[in-house]
Symmetry: C2
């Protein structure tokens, strides 16, 4: 709470190691703006997040960034190729960046990410940006309960449809088509807008109309508009029931994940792994295996 | 095992009530063809499933049908408006039909559906058809681990894109555009084909090319082709690693769900509900609540 970064890093490592309950149970959650950023690899997410951190800082916020790679078995303070990015902010005490990867621990990232975010919230960061490396069910699950979800795409054939396929249309509060200096940007923007329109025709009018913005991360063009959209969305959440609902959903999901981890933690993981192998080979029924896990 | 339907009904009710482990732990799973059927409401799923049951019977199979409504809090033997359908097969001892709905029990349908399917498999049904009422994440999760997933759509503007949005393009092994006597069928068929093609361009060529078939459920047109596609897909599964992988994934998912239910079952559900309410109101941290749940 006094700002010691090494303590913070150690606490996040403890969370990754399944000790979220011990770390968090006595902390009061803050009221940060939790922003999730997702989209296909190569869309320019990291550069945009880097610029967003600067925008958030310029607006007077302290910022924590969590870079999440569900597919990577490796983790650590900053070993995921984002050392360069961190150097842009390394002397800034108002910025904290951290990578999280799937170490195969209990509950995995579905547990560690909300817990790490809760810790950063309790410490008092104003803005928490959770960036996923890829796109898929795991990534969608990770950002689902953020206050504001930013989906970043780049122009290219089929991107709009790919976004829909990946379940991104449903979760995006703000859409950004990056690399707006390339061919095909109008097509992608119009794809995304059309899909949002279709969604509205099927699901009824939306209280919040997700904007579809353009940017060029390499020059910084459009970044001001993205930040403004995030601020607008935060205002919308504050002025409607939606903000409270998302927070309550996030807390409930954290509770259920924590409960699951705590319960699984009462079992011997080697026993569970052995039983999974037996079940997959078909030599033990899933239900007998579940009973064995409990009795052993 | 001797064919008593009342015993079977009672066992499925026991599964719905969280007693899957007790019901299933001593049973040997069979090798049925587990077919999942999903798609938007109004596409004609129930009529098609009814016809598929007849096709499967004519091919010499015994058939069990599970009708799943994740959104309905009600359940029972057959209270979901499918009494009429059941009458078509009521005198046929080779057909068993059952509705499952979300009673809000531990683990819910994600647990009860695979467990009920495992029971029907152990009893020796050759074909098990799992039909979901709606479309959404819950429905997609329910059919995800079936051997063969049939996605049923009907012609209409935006259906292809809606299917993609709902995550159906990724899980379908066979696509059916029903109501092929209506306007717009060619458009929907070509939408679906185009999206499958795009998926292939992004994800690489598929070992199994999902066919896109047409049907008119009210006249039975096209039903023979759908059944033939199901048989082909089963042959593909048997001749490739994919069949074994899906079975192993299904068993592992059953094990993890059963383990979760067994662990949660060691807790007092009233305590858990109270804690969820506290967490959602923000009066208790999710992590403190998880510890409380365990200690109480």
């Amino acid at each position: 709470m006094a700002g010691d970064r090494r303590s913070l890093a150690r606490l996040i490592t403890a969370i990754e190691n399944g000790k979220a309950a011990q770390v968090l149970q006595d902390l009061e959650p803050g009221k940060p703006h939790v922003v999730g950023v997702t989209g296909p690899p190569g869309a320019g997410k990291s550069t945009l997040v880097d610029l967003l951190i600067t925008e958030a800082r310029n607006a007077g916020n302290t910022v924590a960034g969590l870079l999440v790679d569900p597919s990577s078995p490796f983790s650590g303070g900053a070993i995921l190729g984002d050392r360069v990015r961190m150097q842009n902010h390394i002397t800034d005490k108002g910025v904290y960046l951290r990578s999280l990867a799937n170490r195969g621990h209990l509950g995995g990232l579905s547990h560690a990410v909300p817990a790490a975010s809760a810790l950063l919230s309790a410490i008092g960061f104003d803005v928490i940006i959770i960036e996923t490396v890829g796109v898929g069910q795991a990534e969608v699950d990770i950002v689902r309960h953020c206050d504001t979800v930013v989906v970043i795409l780049s122009p290219g054939w089929g991107d709009g449809i790919q976004a829909a396929k990946a379940g991104l249309m449903e979760i995006g509060d703000v859409f950004v088509v990056n690399k707006a200096d390339r061919d095909g940007v109008e097509q992608t923007v119009s794809d995304v807008k059309q899909m949002l329109m279709l969604g509205e025709q099927v699901g009824g009018p939306l209280e919040w109309e997700p904007p579809v913005l353009e940017s060029v991360a390499t020059t910084g063009a459009g970044i001001g508009e993205i930040w403004a959209a995030l601020v607008s969305h935060r205002e919308y959440l504050d002025s409607s029931n939606e903000g409270q609902r998302r927070t309550a959903d996030r807390w409930e999901a954290e509770f259920r994940a924590a409960l699951h981890v705590a319960l699984i933690g009462t079992l011997d993981s080697r026993v569970v792994d052995e039983l999974v192998a037996d079940v997959r080979r078909g030599v033990m029924s899933p239900y007998l295996a579940a009973e064995r896990a409990l009795s052993r």
